[in-house]
Structure formats: structure tokens, C-alpha cells
Amino acid sequence: MMIPACPLADLPRGEAFRLEIDPPVTVFHTEDGELFAIDDTCTHQDASLADGWVEDCWVECPLHASKFNLKTGEVDAPPAKLPVRTHEVVVDNGMVYVKVSTAAPNLPHCVARKLAGSVT
């Protein structure tokens, strides 16, 4: 599924754009000018990686400092232990699109529990 995110002109280098889908996905524009999209929710707890600290191609979770690789989704060290999903980014005609992965997301327990609770 290709989802339009935002015009590239609205996403300067160093900024992130959070797509409010379920689960949310964030597009990062790195200082080097690369674009990446990953699941927005940290796999440890309910933190939004769009609020995180981006350096090179890693984003550090704003709460407990696990870092996720924007290219591969891999996590460097606990407290988060699972990678995040990565998604393909396409720029067409000045518009940023995200091709959402069909893999299962690695949502943190607290979020997964909430979701499970709401599906009755």
C-alpha cells in the first residue's frame, strides 16, 4: 500500500514526519539528505520515535536511549530488544510516499495489550 506522507519541501533535513496510520509510521529526512521510513513506536514502550534524536542513520528513542537503524530497523542495545519494521520511501513529483511493509509490527507489550483489549 502506497500512502502519501507530505510534500518533500515540507520535510527539511533533520526533521521527521509522523504518518497517523495504525500503527503510525515516521519518515525521517537525515542531515545527509536521505529518506527513511520506520514504525514510529519504539519496541520497548510507548514512545514516538519521531520525537527521537537522529544522528547519521540512527534514531535514538526519546525515552530510554535504545537506538534504531533507519535503514534496517535493527536495535543497538536494550531496553528495546526487537527491531522496528522498515518501509520503502518513494518520492514522486515532489511528494513523499510510504510503501507500508506487510510484515508484522513489533509493538511493545503495553501497546499490544491495549490493542488486544480494544478488540473484543
Partner: protein, 387 residues
């Protein structure tokens, strides 16, 4: 270097072991810890674990497939360090000779003298402490928390959510004034009152009453606060007794340089037991926060492996978080040197503030309550500007 011994098998020790391997050390690695458990995460002990929403398996700090090629000596305490032999002495009589030694023995909860052996009285530092406290909280009743610092406040918040009747007693006029300053300390500790948790400030604790089990906390002004359970949250002391007489200089923990080196060559210290020189503060600081225990070992291990040939980078300003009553509290920098604090976003009433501390106009610290995005911006800025 052929053998490195890491003493302390928690966050700082594990991070040091990881840093060693990451930085190319392929010799013998011995990790010594006095708790019987593999390294586990402490912050959830006062929060999700105590609340029962996170289990023990989730506390484990190692990755599933992680193998550091280390020998783990668990459940055994280090009792001494012999500088001539370069050996760590263990309580069971064994000795580990090592070329490099990492001190990562952390801190232990302070207790109230005279409370030993009284049932219902707890401290909270270890998994075993948390198991015992969790079991008691499940029975409900009246909880009195002695100490309104972060751990005490988190226990109060968790216990409140579990339905207990909670009172917090704090000797200082304003809780958290040390780390946050008076104004912000008052705002953050206002969370207690928001939820109907009693906060008694500016009064010391004289003692506890009870025969076999505690039944009240006696205050210095003569009042007596009835209690079924008491949690003593009066801070922690660095675990460095085992180093006395070893030649490692001690001063509020292990005194070390900005790169983790101690007064003995080949010995570095990391985590809660280490009193690092902080170039930003221009003084030594013993920082008892998770992120320091996780990050500083990188620098200390670089020092250990090269003994001074590498320049330590300037560490990021100290950072910690706390979760109380559903509010995410984040703090970075040093509040102590500030001459002003202003709320830049949000309001104290809504408990969603982003506050910036300044000294002579320069930002030196930031506090966020439920403001992770703005807080990260400020944290980045502090890392760039304060020196």
C-alpha cells in the same frame, strides 16, 4: 591486555563488557556480581514490574542471542582489590587476577537504622526487594513512603494506582529540590496532591513503631502516621567498601577523571559507584542515572584499552527520566548551577511543562513533563552548547 575483570554485573558492568568486545578486546573477560541474577533492568522495579504489568523475563538486559564470551561469576561478592597482584578477591576465597579492572558495583539502598527485622518495612533496589514489595502491596492497605525523591515518588504513584492509601513523608521543605530546584521540585511533587496522595514535607522521621510488624511511622514533630507497609526511599550509597585500602581513591564513590580512570593504572570505574569529573560542571559528579551507566562505559573502556592515548569525548549532559501518575518526567543537565528557570511551554497547572534552566543567560538544564519532543530538542541543544 590478556584478562579483564568487571566487578558488578548490572547495567554498567554489562555495558562495559559490551564496550570491551565492541572495541576489539578479545582476551579473557570475567564478570563478577554478588546478585544471583543475570543483569536486569532496575527502572521498571518501581514502575511496571511493581505494578505487575511487566514480568521478570522482560527485565533481562541481555539480547536473546547475545554472547560476550565472558565467564560469569554470579552470587559472589568481591571483598578486596590487591594492587600488587592485580587481583580481585572474592568472598569465597577465590581470586581473579586481571590486567584491567572495571569497577561497576553501583549503589545500595540506604536503610533506616533500627528498622531491621521489622516486618512490613522495605527498601527498593534489587529484584528481590521488588518481588517482596510487590507481594505486600498486593494485600493493599496503608503505605507510607519515607523520602520524596524519584524512587519514593514512583513507588507512591504505582501503589496509588494499585489502590493503596498512600502517604509520602519528606524531610526537606520541597521534594526533589536537590535535582530540580525548588520551583520545579514543587511542581513535579504536586503530582502527589493531584491524585490525593498525602505529602508531608519539612518533617523528619524519628522512628518506626510496631512489635514484630510495623504499625506506624513516628515523625519528629510528634505526629504518628499509621502504616501497614513502609517503603524507605532515602537514597543510595555507593558500594565501594570493598575498595578500602586498595589504593583506589575514594570520595563519594570512586573518584575518577573525565575518562573514567581511577587513581590506579589499569583500573576504571563506571555507573552509580563512580564519581566522574564532569567538565561541564567543573566538578566531580556521581550521577545515579540509567543513561550514564549505559553510555559512560564506552569512554572508560577506551581509556582502559589505551591508558590515556585516546582523548575522551565530552560526554552528553546527564539525563534521566521518571514516570509518575502517568506523566513522563525527563531531565537533562545540572540544575545546581542555574540562576533562573523559565517555563517555555505548557503550564504548571496542566503538568505538561517544558522548563529551561539558565546560568547567566546560557541554558544549563531542561525539564520536561509529558513533552518528549520538545525535551529532545533541548537535550540536543544542551549537548551542543554547554561546556
Amino acid at each position: 591486555m590478556r584478562t579483564v575483570a568487571v566487578v558488578g554485573a548490572s547495567l554498567a558492568g554489562l555495558s562495559a563488557a559490551r564496550s570491551l568486545r565492541k572495541q576489539g578486546y578479545d582476551g579473557r573477560l570475567v564478570v563478577i556480581g554478588d546478585e544471583p541474577h543475570r543483569p536486569y533492568d532496575r527502572p521498571p522495579l518501581s514502575k511496571e514490574f511493581l505494578a505487575g504489568t511487566v514480568g521478570e523475563a522482560e527485565l533481562v538486559l541481555e539480547m536473546d542471542d547475545e554472547d560476550l564470551g565472558a565467564e560469569w561469576l554470579l552470587g559472589v561478592r568481591a571483598t578486596g582489590l590487591d594492587r600488587t597482584d592485580r587481583a580481585v578477591q572474592l568472598a569465597d576465597g577465590r581470586e581473579v587476577r586481571a590486567d584491567g579492572i572495571v569497577i561497576a558495583t553501583g549503589a545500595a539502598a540506604r536503610t533506616l537504622p533500627g528498622s531491621e527485622g521489622l516486618a512490613g518495612v522495605h527498601v527498593l533496589r534489587t529484584l528481590d526487594d521488588a518481588r517482596a514489595l510487590r507481594e505486600e502491596l498486593a494485600g493493599g492497605g496503608r503505605l507510607v513512603v519515607i523520602g520524596g525523591g524519584f524512587v519514593g515518588a514512583e513507588v507512591a504513584s504505582t501503589a496509588y494506582a494499585l489502590g493503596l492509601d498512600v502517604t509520602v513523608v519528606e524531610a526537606a521543605p520541597t521534594p526533589l529540590a536537590g535535582p530540580l530546584g525548588e520551583t520545579m521540585g514543587a511542581i513535579v511533587s504536586g503530582l502527589h496532591a493531584d491524585h490525593g496522595v498525602r505529602l508531608l514535607c519539612g518533617v523528619g522521621v524519628k522512628g518506626l513503631s510496631g512489635e514484630r510488624r510495623v504499625d506506624a511511622v513516628l515523625l519528629e514533630d510528634g505526629r504518628s502516621v499509621p502504616a501497614d507497609i513502609v517503603v524507605v526511599g532515602v537514597g543510595a550509597r555507593p558500594c565501594v567498601e570493598w575498595l578500602e585500602g586498595s589504593g583506589v581513591e575514594l570520595d563519594n564513590g570512586v573518584k575518577c577523571g573525565a575518562d573514567g580512570r581511577t587513581s590506579l593504572a589499569g583500573v576504571v570505574a563506571v555507573g552509580d559507584c563512580a564519581n566522574w569529573y564532569d567538565p561541564r560542571a567543573g566538578a566531580h559528579r556521581r550521577v545515579e542515572h540509567w543513561t550514564g551507566a549505559r553510555e559512560r562505559p564506552d569512554a572508560a573502556i577506551a581509556t582502559l584499552l589505551s591508558w590515556g592515548a585516546t582523548e575522551p569525548g565530552v560526554p552528553r549532559p546527564p539525563y534521566f527520566w521518571s514516570d509518575q501518575y502517568g506523566v513522563k518526567i525527563q531531565f537533562a543537565g545540572h540544575a545546581a548551577g542555574a540562576d533562573s528557570v523559565t517555563i517555555e511551554e505548557g503550564t504548571a497547572d496542566e503538568r505538561n511543562v517544558l522548563a529551561v534552566y539558565r546560568r547567566a543567560g546560557e541554558p544549563v538544564a531542561a525539564l520536561g513533563m509529558n513533552q518528549p519532543r520538545l525535551f529532545t530538542r533541548w537535550r540536543k541543544q544542551l549537548a551542543r552548547t554547554t561546556s
